[in-house]
């Protein structure tokens, strides 16, 4: 009987997820992330997905903690949604829904894999969200943020150096310092650095200075063997330079430089060669570097389109499944279609951020939004591409879904900043309307922040 319940539930969850994804695509396309009705429907979908999933996990495990966690989670989501609606009248609720969905999917999988890490993840997410509630209000009042250029650069480089020197190696890379991963926070300071140096008229000297600081960040990360983060920083750098200078040849030059550096890294570092050989023919190196990716592909392949059903697969066979390979576990148990929906949700998440950056008038904030959005997109692409063998593995995690306190907190902060920029934009629009109303002759000119 339970088997049938589990079997049916997987189709139910899949259907709910597909509908949710359609809403996402629709709302992003129409740029209506504040419409109350579809947003509420989306939240109900999240609620249903969670209820069915946690119900199934409870049936399979008979662990009362599952119910407890579920209640906690629903309280957190409801409180978060409600507080945002009260505090920020003009907040993008689609952004909040997506955040809840991604956290949910992660928590479902973590509960099924190891309930204690799910509890930890939920606690960290709740605490992080609570603190981040002030960010949208703060970000627009803190004008000095755009003048701290060299503080950002210094913080970033020094923290990364500290990790390189002090951290112990785990899974071949140096990442963790005092239980946290500083590179997650530096993703934010790095974007602030780039935006603050580039928001005024861009000179050659500024581009060179930005390049040197970016090279320091990327270089230290490569030496720490954190290739994924290095790539994220590099792409963010490249794209912000391109956005600020509007020179396509600089983008191409940078991309070519990046390609050259990758080839050099391949020849210089054994761990890069291992990643590539595991990518090209994982079966041939199954006993060694190919093991992880082969297990991941077994999981995704065995799951097929519809998945094995929650608690019916063996995702724990994949090494570091809670972190780097959470997407494979999701595909195995919840289905390949669910995985594809997840990719599309992440895509709309990114496109929404780009939309915000298009609408903002201040170059500084435009660059911030684009930079943070780019980092998010690159990270999603690297992790999902890596575990599905679309590209070689780089060892980064899926933001909000994968287990990891630093990553969850810094992603929530990132999203809160973007939320702040979204609200700013809405205010700007209102301001223009106000000016138009008061001065019917107004039709353009330089707009000044008030």
């Amino acid at each position: 009987m339970i088997n049938i319940a589990v079997e049916l539930s997987k189709y139910v969850i899949l259907t709910l997820m597909v509908i949710y994804t359609f809403y996402c695509l629709f709302l992003t396309y129409r740029q209506r992330s504040t419409d109350q009705e579809p947003i509420l429907k989306q939240f109900i979908l999240i609620f249903l997905i969670d209820t069915v999933s946690f119900g199934v996990i409870y049936l399979k495990t008979r662990d009362f903690q599952v119910i407890f966690l579920y209640v906690e989670m629903m309280v957190f989501f409801s409180a978060f949604q409600l507080l945002y609606r009260i505090l920020y009248r003009k907040a993008s609720l689609l952004l909040i829904n997506n955040m809840c969905l991604l956290l949910s999917v992660g928590l479902i999988m973590l509960t099924r894999l190891d309930i204690s890490s799910a509890m930890k993840q939920l606690a960290i997410a709740a605490a992080g969200s609570g603190i981040s509630l002030v960010i949208p209000a703060a970000i627009r009042r803190m004008k000095f943020l755009r003048r701290l250029t060299w503080l950002y650069a210094l913080t970033g480089v020094l923290l990364l150096l500290a990790v390189l020197i002090l951290a112990r190696t785990s899974y071949g890379a140096k990442l963790t310092l005092w239980g946290a991963q500083p590179s997650e926070a530096i993703k934010i300071t790095f974007v602030f650095f780039m935006a603050s140096i580039l928001y005024k008229r861009v000179t050659r000297a500024k581009v060179i200075a930005a390049t040197i600081v970016a090279a320091l960040h990327v270089g230290i990360l490569v030496v720490s063997r954190d290739l994924g983060s290095a790539l994220i920083f590099f792409v963010a750098y490249l794209i912000l330079i391109f956005a600020a200078t509007r020179k396509f040849w600089l983008f191409l030059l940078g991309a070519a430089g990046g390609a050259g550096a990758s080839v050099a890294a391949y020849h210089l570092f054994g761990h890069v060669r291992e990643r590539v050989s595991a990518f090209l023919d994982p079966m041939a190196v199954y006993q060694n570097e190919g093991y992880q990716i082969v297990q991941s592909l077994f999981a995704i392949g065995t799951g097929g389109w519809f998945g094995m059903g929650l608690c019916q697969g063996s995702p724990q066979k994949i090494p570091v499944v809670k972190n780097d390979f959470i997407f494979s576990a999701i595909c195995e148990e919840m289905g390949g279609i669910f995985g594809i929906c997840l990719i599309l949700v992440c895509m709309t998440f990114f496109l929404m951020i780009v939309n915000i950056s298009l609408k903002i008038r201040s170059t500084f904030y435009k660059l911030i939004a684009l930079g943070l959005g780019t980092e998010y997109a690159v990270q999603v692409f690297l992790t999902i591409g890596g575990v599905t063998k679309f590209i070689p593995m780089t060892g980064v995690t899926l933001p909000l879904v994968a287990y990891g306190g630093s990553s969850v907190i810094s992603t929530i902060i990132m999203l809160s900043i973007i939320q702040g920029l979204y609200i700013l934009r809405e205010d700007e629009d209102e301001e223009i309307e106000r000016i138009r109303r008061e001065d019917p002759g107004f039709s353009g000119g330089t707009y000044r922040e008030y």
């Binding site: 995704i300 995985g339 990114f350």
Partner: protein
């Protein structure tokens, strides 16, 4: 248009640039933003496309890998399906007694031990290769639901193998109680009809005899010698040397050699078998006579790096698509000394090869240079006998040109017509092949080899045989191959 309130801002170009409110879409400034948005949207869609493609096309090769043990958890809910031969005989099935205890039964006991394999103490053979299908129920989903409801196990899919019981039995008894291996496959399809390895074991009692067998290094009865055996090739390697000669000279016609029964270079002497003096030979007669002196001379003229190139073209030092395959080794290179080149050219030296590999080379010769992907599975059926999936023959690799294949075929026909495989002539079908006697110790004892195919004009069957310590090729391996060919033609009516 201007805003008169802030005239100073417009002259200060170092100030932050704001997008004019008249351009709600940001104007030119937003170009890069749009580009980046589009670029990443494409990357995301590409990623989604890849996940679709992976699930639709790529995943099968991964989930069917014997390393994939995920489906073992299905065994809680699925009764392992049967393995059936292409002539409809059950090779493996799972019996369930009244208490629900499942037993894997192999009705033919030792006969299919290696190729069908076993399913306790690990997995091997088809039991491993087809594990995913055997443990996946393909019944109508309503039936599956009803079974779930009644808490009854579903039945896994049936694997219809290409193996043929008559041919397998013939090959098995042709080896008798000698050690060795036989593999028989269709060059036009890659279907494997028989695969025997001896010594063998009874998969029905493998759990009981396991400890004894893994300790017994003398017999290595668990080893499937057909795919994982590593034997010196002896004279069957002359196929490789001959092809290298052909590639260098464009034909065999320029070759002439005066065999004196022995040849000495750099103080190293090679004999022909029994020191027979073959006299004046061209390449056809040297090949048919399996003249060691002629091929040692030819090999030295060709040189180590040339031979290595051709050997690796012919799949030495490479993985082949057989489960539990062990790569054949070929070690010559540009720096190899003359004595080793002489030895290697006639199939001694450091070269090691498996019968399956030699069978694939013969498949290439028989099939105009192209090897069809070797396959043991014809189709997958559900427990009602409805076909779920058919394995279609696919081309695997082309390792020589049609011209080269024809040239080698002519040499191999000569071996049957008036050479060491004369035992295959006059049996109602044409045949081509090469024998070998691979010496493995100082006393000159040798393994008996044959590799070849029948019906030269449109080859039906490739057979590779090794009989350990069986003497010359014509003594043991050729009669065994003849028995398999005979059985093939008495089983299958090929007149149509």
């Amino acid at each position: 248009m201007k805003i008169p309130d802030f005239p100073e801002e417009r002259t200060e170009s170092i100030e932050e640039e704001y997008v004019p409110a008249s351009m709600p879409e940001g104007g030119r400034k937003n170009g890069p933003y749009r580009f980046i948005g589009a670029l990443f949207a494409m990357l995301f869609l590409g990623l989604a496309g890849w996940v679709i493609y992976f699930n639709a096309v790529v995943s099968e090769s991964f989930i069917n890998s014997p390393y994939n043990t995920r489906q073992d958890t299905f065994a809680d809910r699925v009764i392992r399906g049967p393995i059936i031969s292409s002539d409809g005989q059950v090779l493996a099935r799972t019996d369930v007694d009244e208490y629900g205890t499942e037993t894997r039964v192999y009705p033919y006991s030792e006969l299919f031990a290696h190729v069908v394999g076993y399913d306790s103490n690990g997995k091997s053979g088809l039991e491993s290769e087809a594990n995913f299908d055997l443990l996946t129920s393909r019944e109508f989903f309503v039936d599956q639901l009803v079974n779930e409801f009644k808490d009854r196990k579903n039945i896994g899919a049936s694997v219809i193998s290409s193996l043929n019981t008559t041919l397998q039995m013939t090959a098995y008894s042709a080896l008798g109680d000698r050690r060795g291996a036989v593999i028989a496959m269709e060059p036009k399809t890659g279907r494997i009809l028989a695969m025997v390895s001896k010594p063998d074991f009874d998969p029905n009692t493998i759990a009981e005899s396991w400890d004894y067998m893994i300790q017994d290094e003398n017999d290595s009865s668990l080893l499937n010698r057909a795919v994982a055996g590593a034997y010196p090739p002896g004279s069957v390697f002359k196929i490789v040397t001959a092809l290298d000669y052909y590639r260098k000279h464009g034909s065999f016609s320029g070759f002439s050699f005066l065999c004196e029964g022995r040849i000495t270079m750099m103080d190293h002497t090679i004999h022909c078998y029994n020191e027979t003096v073959h006299g004046s030979e061209d390449l056809y007669s040297a090949f048919a006579n399996s003249c060691n002196c002629a091929f040692a001379q030819a090999g030295v003229d060709l040189g180590g790096s040339s031979l290595r190139k051709t050997a690796e073209d012919l799949l030495f030092n490479q993985e082949l698509p057989f489960t539990q395959y062990r790569s054949s080794t070929f070690t010559l290179d540009a720096d190899s000394g003359i004595p080793l080149i002489m030895q290697t050219s006639i199939g001694q030296g450091n070269t090691l090869v498996s019968p399956a590999h030699m069978a694939l080379i013969a498949c290439a010769v028989a099939n105009g240079g192209t090897i069809m992907k070797p396959q043991l599975i014809d189709e997958i059926q559900n427990s009602q006998g409805d076909v779920v999936r058919t394995v279609k023959p696919t081309e695997w690799k082309t390792i020589m040109t049609q011209d080269e294949a024809q040239a080698l075929s002519a040499l191999m026909q000569g071996v049957v017509e008036n050479g060491t495989a004369y035992g295959l002539s006059g049996r109602g079908y044409t045949a081509a092949g090469k024998t070998g006697s691979a010496e493995f110790d100082e006393e000159g004892s040798s393994h008996s080899w044959f590799v070849g195919y029948s019906n030269v004009s449109s080859p039906d069957l490739v057979v590779a045989v090794i009989v350990e310590d069986g003497g010359t090729g014509s003594e043991s391996a050729v009669p065994a191959a003849a028995a398999v060919f005979d059985a093939y033609y008495s089983t299958f009516d090929t007149s149509g």
